[in-house]
């Protein structure tokens, strides 16, 4: 046995983590998924037509500290926090109607020719981060159902409404904040899905870099000595709230997030390339910029200020994603400081 085989065998010893899958329950899910798959195949042609209908032209990206090309999305009247701390059940009760309205917009819902997502009972919902945070009216809270309907899970953000305003519409764009809306960025980035990645209370953290595209915000937040990179996609594009954070560890090259966002299947197929993080000095010289090369695309440069950066780059009409990327670290004179290992190809 090789040393590597030995290490892998040891690492794969999962006796400390018991299985939680019930094969019979899995069978029920499999049967349900098969029915859903058949339904999707049946509406495929209709989805293609819908894609033409909802396609929208790209807007310019919005860079923190630069000219704003998009208005902030948060409804001002809804952002004023109330005084009383809300219990989990109170958060769920206030958010229920708002969440239902988002579910009705879901990708595989009525817009794609399928029946609307089922309205799950309020009793199935919870606010998973309520034990971490003291929520008040006007705060952003995550709410999810413990159940799944045939289209998948429900993990949503909610702007907690005041009493009597539970049915007021709150646009989904509220949750992709403007680059200068520090408080909203910090709130949304604090509401990542516990089952997907880490959750960190970043309220009060300083937003040190941010850029926003039509469907995505990338931001770098500083909390004490720690930095967190946060990406926030447009929720309607994913049917979910797949925003994530990553700790930006200072000893790494720290491009902690990079990725491609393609738009939902019924939307425009634009590729997004984004990252946020920190860059230490290289060979004693501070990094002033990152030059990014994407195969078959014009090269572009991202400024790095004080070692901090965040960017969102949109490559229009790229249904196959982005292939072949390389980045080079530059000093203030534009000279090469280093070429770290490349981000691997990113495909949508």
């Amino acid at each position: 046995m090789t040393e590597l085989k030995h290490l892998l065998d040891r690492a794969a010893d999962g006796t400390d983590t018991p299985l939680r899958t019930d094969p019979v329950a899995l069978l029920h899910r499999a049967r349900s998924a098969r029915r859903r798959h058949r339904a999707r195949v049946a509406v495929g042609a209709l989805s293609a037509v819908t894609a033409l209908a909802v396609a929208t032209p790209l807007a310019a990206t919005q860079l923190r500290g630069g000219p704003s090309t998009e208005p902030g999305a948060l409804t001002p009247a809804a952002s004023a926090s109330g005084d009383a701390t809300l219990s989990e059940s109170e958060v769920v009760a206030r958010c229920y109607e708002q969440v239902q309205s988002y579910n009705a917009l879901a990708r595989w819902g009525a817009g794609a020719g399928l029946p609307p997502r089922s309205k799950l009972p309020i009793e199935t919902y919870r606010a998973p981060n309520s034990r971490r945070y003291d929520y008040r009216v006007g705060d952003v809270a995550s709410v999810e159902s413990a159940e799944m309907d045939s289209f998948g899970s429900f993990y949503r953000l909610c702007l907690i409404p005041a009493t009597g305003h539970e049915s007021d519409p709150v646009p989904l764009t509220t949750f992709v904040p403007a680059v200068d809306d520090d408080a909203m960025i910090a709130q949304v980035c604090s509401e990542t899905e516990p089952q997907v990645g880490q959750v960190r209370n970043l309220r009060g953290a300083e937003v040190v870099a941010a850029q926003r595209g039509p469907l995505l915000l990338a931001a770098l937040l500083r909390q004490g000595d720690d930095y967190y990179a946060c990406s926030v996609p447009h929720p309607d594009n994913t049917d979910d709230m797949d925003h994530t954070i990553n700790l930006a560890t200072p000893q790494s090259h720290v491009v902690v997030q990079a990725g491609v966002e393609n738009g939902k299947p019924t939307g425009p197929v634009d590729a997004y390339y984004y990252a946020a993080g920190r860059l230490d000095e290289v060979a004693g010289a501070p990094v002033a910029a990152i030059r990014i090369e994407i195969r078959d695309q014009p090269t572009f440069t991202v400024p790095v200020q004080g070692g901090e950066f965040a960017f969102v780059h949109v490559v229009p009409d790229s249904p196959g994603g982005i292939h072949g990327t390389r980045y080079t670290l530059l000093d203030a004179d534009g000279d090469t400081l280093g070429e770290p290992s490349t981000w691997s190809d990113a495909q949508g």
């Binding site: 090789t2 040393e3 590597l4 085989k5 290490l7 892998l8 065998d9 040891r10 690492a11 794969a12 999962g14 983590t17 299985l19 939680r20 899958t21 094969p23 019979v24 899995l26 069978l27 899910r29 499999a30 049967r31 998924a33 098969r34 798959h37 089952q195 990645g197 880490q198 990406s231 996609p233 594009n237 994913t238 979910d240 797949d242 994530t244 990553n246 700790l247 560890t249 000893q251 790494s252 090259h253 720290v254 491009v255 902690v256 997030q257 990079a258 990725g259 491609v260 966002e261 393609n262 738009g263 994603g321 770290p340 290992s341 981000w343 691997s344 190809d345 990113a346 495909q347 949508g348």
Partner: protein, 172 residues
């Protein structure tokens, strides 16, 4: 699918889950995510059960689907996030690493420094002892890609793990 097939599926799921989850864990570094992905793979297997049953081993299909889901998930819109260089893998390694780092953590942390496809190459070649050709079949790529990805992966692992003689006695 007839009831008998349902019974076969549940029996197969119960028997294969532990092994598939171990494979998935080595690729993703998170036991819960590994189990979720295996569930998804088995659900997909159910959809094509009869065809797969006729054409190839069910376990091989389930393993291939599990690996591809993990590799593809890393490229999935809205999900893609990775530390990319240096030692920035802390956020990727599961929360269990908060305690004492034991031998198991060492290789998982080392794997976390690799891109997903290279991780999969290492797991398939050196955990499952698949040949280059079999690994290429699983990943849906050329044998040359497997060789180069594996070579890069081993070089990285050697740099991270030190002077361990990782693959002594194996052939490519």
């Amino acid at each position: 699918m007839a009831t008998s097939h349902d019974e076969e599926f549940t029996a197969f799921a119960a028997a294969s889950l532990p092994q598939l989850r171990r494979t998935a864990y080595l690729v993703c570094g998170d036991w819960h995510r590994a189990e979720d992905v295996v569930q998804d793979a088995l659900i997909r297997l159910y959809r094509v059960w009869r065809r797969v049953e006729r054409q190839e081993a069910l376990l091989a299909y389930a393993r291939r689907t599990t690996i591809r889901l993990l590799v593809d998930e890393s490229r999935r819109p809205w999900r893609r996030e990775r530390p990319t260089a240096g030692h920035g893998a802390d956020s990727w390694v599961s929360a269990s690493s908060a305690g004492a780092v034991d031998e198991r953590d060492v290789i998982v942390r080392a794997l976390s420094t690799l891109p997903p496809r290279r991780r999969a190459c290492v797991v398939l070649r050196y955990y499952h002892d698949l040949s280059v050709r079999e690994t290429a079949d699983v990943l849906g790529c050329s044998e040359g890609t497997v060789k180069s990805q594996t070579a890069h992966a081993l070089a990285t692992l050697r740099a991270v793990l030190g002077d361990l003689d990782l693959v002594k006695g194996t052939s490519s």
